[in-house]
């Protein structure tokens, strides 16, 4: 479980996120949602330690991550897998080398073990026979899958996904969402997904945290989201025509 307490972050004079607290539960797909520019990605970066928050603390299963020393942070990070918005695959490495990279650096597995693990992960995300391809030779959806395979290759306890559906067609988006959900259930990990896609929210959101103008306005499940009583959340949720029809019903 990940717990965040009073996280705030400003860039120069602009307060991007203010006093956000919440918990992300193990074995569940936790979503951080909100419109563009509300600070979702900044919050995610504060949680994984890419940005140091001005105030507040992040706990990974009770371990204070924000104030930990560099060694402790590195230790926690080795339990983290992250899928970035653009995939963030290493351009100079093939698909196989990308997925194998965390194993090469962080483990002492034998070459055969590493190869088996990489093939297992690639197969798990539905990719086969692409090992030797370079990132520039595969589609956006495949890059996301390779990103997921790289994120899970080292058996993480925590999986973070930053806008996993951005730039993908609706069908591929659903496949990626389902994959994230399946992996969360299968490996029993704490997954945190940043998204503004209502299809993802209704598809995989087990616990949802809604941000508006840098503040947390609501927290709940996808079943509760349509009748939250929060005007800003309603405006966000019912922008989608499908959701509008759901509201009318």
């Amino acid at each position: 479980m990940i717990e965040i307490q009073n996280i705030s972050k400003s860039f120069e004079d602009k307060k991007v996120i203010q006093n956000i607290s919440g918990t992300f539960e193990k074995g569940k797909t936790n979503l951080i949602i909100g419109a563009s520019g509300t600070g979702k990605s900044v919050l995610l970066k504060c949680i994984v330690g890419l940005i140091h928050p001005d105030t507040g603390t992040v706990f990974y299963d009770g371990r204070n991550f924000t104030d930990a020393d560099k060694e402790m942070k590195a230790e926690v990070r080795r339990e983290i897998g992250m899928l970035f918005q653009g995939g963030a695959l290493f351009d100079s490495k093939s698909v196989e080398q990308n997925v194998m990279f965390p194993l090469n650096i962080l483990t002492k597995m034998s070459p055969t073990e590493k190869e088996d693990r990489v093939n297992f992960c690639l197969k798990r995300v539905g990719l086969e026979n692409v090992n030797s391809k370079m990132p520039s030779e595969i589609s956006g959806g495949m890059k996301k899958r390779v990103g997921i395979a790289r994120a899970i290759v080292n058996n993480p306890n925590y999986l973070f996904c930053d806008e996993p559906n951005s730039g993908l067609d609706p069908q591929t988006s659903i496949l990626i969402d389902e994959l994230i959900k399946e992996i969360t259930d299968e490996f029993d990990i704490t997954t945190v997904v940043v998204t503004h896609d209502m299809n993802s929210v209704m598809g995989i959101g087990e616990k949802i945290l809604f941000l508006f103008q840098g503040q947390k306005l609501w927290e709940g499940s996808k079943e509760e989201i349509t009748h939250s009583g929060v005007e800003e959340l309603d405006n966000f949720v019912f922008t989608n025509k499908v959701m509008q029809s759901l509201k009318k019903k």
């Binding site: 970066k45 560099k70 590195a74 080795r78 983290i80 963030a88 965390p102 650096i105």
Partner: protein
């Protein structure tokens, strides 16, 4: 001053939380090929022509019955060893290797590849930058030696083929009152310049913010700042060591 402070902190992070030696061995070898082996042709070409032109221009300026011909190659030797090979080549090195390092790291930054390394618990500066700096410190002196040899050979070819100087005079001039310390001085300079160019270029690239345009700006800044650092370093080393 703020930038200089950040640069010093950046250098400090290179040596903390390093990966295994085996990892660096492979990375350094790869970087040596990129910064060294792939620069050989350009360095040889430029140096040969610089040596040839220096010979022609020195001969043009030394037309006097009182000055023996071997002084031409003597001047070419001194200029090559002291300045052309280590310093002028450093400017070319900054343009080729420095901009490439900066562009490479800048692109990795804006496409979140550096963030990906950090999230994995890897010290990205140590992993990405340290091998580049070590490779540069190792390879640049070798390129300078190659450059010096090519420049002197270029001078010999042009000087003898055009009849400016006889082969015997050229070789005599090269060996005349030779002070070995100039070679040591040139190698010290090349070590310092190799470090300055690679570290400054990596620093500029590593802290790129924005998009493709900013990567270009960072590469330009990397070359400009490296060149300034080389020129200032050149002056300081000359004052200190000569």
């Amino acid at each position: 001053m703020k930038g200089f402070g950040r640069y010093m902190l950046f250098l400090g992070t290179l040596l903390v939380r390093r990966e295994s030696l085996g990892t660096y061995y492979k990375l350094i070898l790869e970087e040596c090929i990129v910064v060294g082996v792939k620069s050989i042709f350009l360095f040889a070409l430029v140096s040969t022509f610089i040596g040839a032109v220096t010979t022609v221009q020195t001969a043009y300026n030394l037309v006097s019955p009182l000055v023996p011909n071997y002084i031409i190659s003597n001047v070419v030797r001194e200029m090559t060893i002291l300045e052309l090979a280590p310093t002028i080549m450093a400017l070319i090195y900054a343009g080729k290797v420095g901009s490439s390092m900066s562009g490479n790291l800048g692109t990795m930054r804006i496409t979140e590849q550096i963030d990906a390394l950090e999230v994995m618990g890897i010290n990205s500066t140590s992993y990405l930058v340290l091998p580049k700096i070590i490779a540069s410190i190792m390879m640049y002196p070798m390129l300078v030696i190659l450059s010096g040899a090519c420049a002197l050979a270029g001078g010999y070819l042009v000087g003898t083929l055009t009849g400016i100087i006889s082969p015997t005079d050229y070789v005599y001039g090269l060996r005349y009152v030779f002070n070995e310390y100039t070679v040591t001085f040139a190698l010290i300079k090349s070590l310092v310049f190799g470090f300055l160019i690679s570290s400054i270029s990596c620093f500029k690239g590593y802290y790129t913010k924005g998009g493709a345009f900013e990567v270009g700006v960072a590469s330009t800044e990397a070359v400009t700042t490296s060149v300034m650092a080389v020129l200032i370093g050149d002056y300081l080393l000359a004052q200190l060591l000569l």
